[in-house]
């Protein structure tokens, strides 16, 4: 895992210096925990409430797992690039995989009677409901999420 900080001149709502953090991980599940632990550590100075931290962790884990397993098909020659930053009172994160992408609009709604008993398919649905904003690029290999910090 490699990490770098891009310095920025602005300051967040609490006066902390904003910086864009870049992390690159191989397509292996074992690296995911390091990323969300790093993010939660970086959010500590912002006194974020526990429910918001729960949402950030869950959404980062789900999105990274999708990037590693579905995006890069666990091919450890491919990488997942993560960048995150705080702007004002918002936590922003972009996760990019090197796979061919997918159309998030065709994911079935896991809450319908036909799908509710299924054992998978809730990850993206949770992201869309727990984050304040979720966007995919056209190809579907980059997800950008925003969470308002409370």
């Amino acid at each position: 895992m490699t990490r770098s900080d891009q310095s920025a001149s602005s300051r967040s709502r609490k006066g902390h210096k904003e910086a864009k953090i870049l992390i690159k991980i191989p397509s292996e599940i074992r690296y995911i925990k390091e990323v969300w632990l790093r993010i939660l550590t970086d959010l500590k100075p912002y006194n974020v409430d526990s429910d918001t931290l729960f949402d950030v962790r869950l959404c980062v884990e789900e999105a990274l797992r999708n990037a590693v397993v579905h995006g890069n098909r666990s091919d450890n020659r491919l990488f997942v690039n993560v960048s995150y930053w705080i702007k004002g009172a918002d936590f922003n994160i972009e996760i990019e995989n090197e796979g061919s992408g997918f159309d998030h609009r065709i994911i079935p709604d896991p809450t319908t009677d036909d799908n509710i008993m299924k054992s998978s398919g809730r990850g993206v649905y949770l992201l869309k409901n727990l984050m304040d904003s979720v966007e995919f690029n056209k190809t579907g290999n980059v997800i950008k999420m925003v969470k308002h910090l409370k």
């Binding site: 599940i29 008993m117 998978s120 727990l130």
Partner: protein, 111 residues
């Protein structure tokens, strides 16, 4: 993560400690497969010491319920934190599971 089982008033009460996620799901499944193979008719799962659930954790609980249905088994979930309960509400799993506020009530009213 740990699963503690106890028999109470003719049913099985399970206390799960820690996180129900992609890492702990295989051990949780294993613990419940044993109960399901014995066709345990009523199971109460106390989640008071569960601090985190992800989509795999939700899927694991759905699978346990699904595996109990063929023999008419029933499951109740109790003592969830408000945060974890909100995941059941968002995913509409609250309409699939019997969710109760506390273990005592779930056990004493489990007919």
């Amino acid at each position: 993560m740990g699963v503690k089982l106890e028999s109470k008033n003719g049913l099985v009460v399970c206390h799960i400690h820690g996180e129900i996620d992609i890492n702990s799901s295989p051990s949780i499944k294993k613990a419940f497969d044993n109960l399901i193979s014995k066709k345990t008719p009523k199971i109460v799962i106390n989640l008071s010491r569960v601090t985190y659930v992800d989509s795999s954790g939700l899927a694991t609980l759905v699978e346990i319920l699904k595996n109990m249905r063929p023999y008419g088994g029933r499951m109740r979930l109790t003592n969830m934190s408000s945060k974890i309960k909100s995941l059941f509400e968002i995913t509409k799993l609250e309409k699939l599971f019997e969710i109760m506020a506390d273990e005592e009530e779930a056990v004493s009213t489990f007919m």
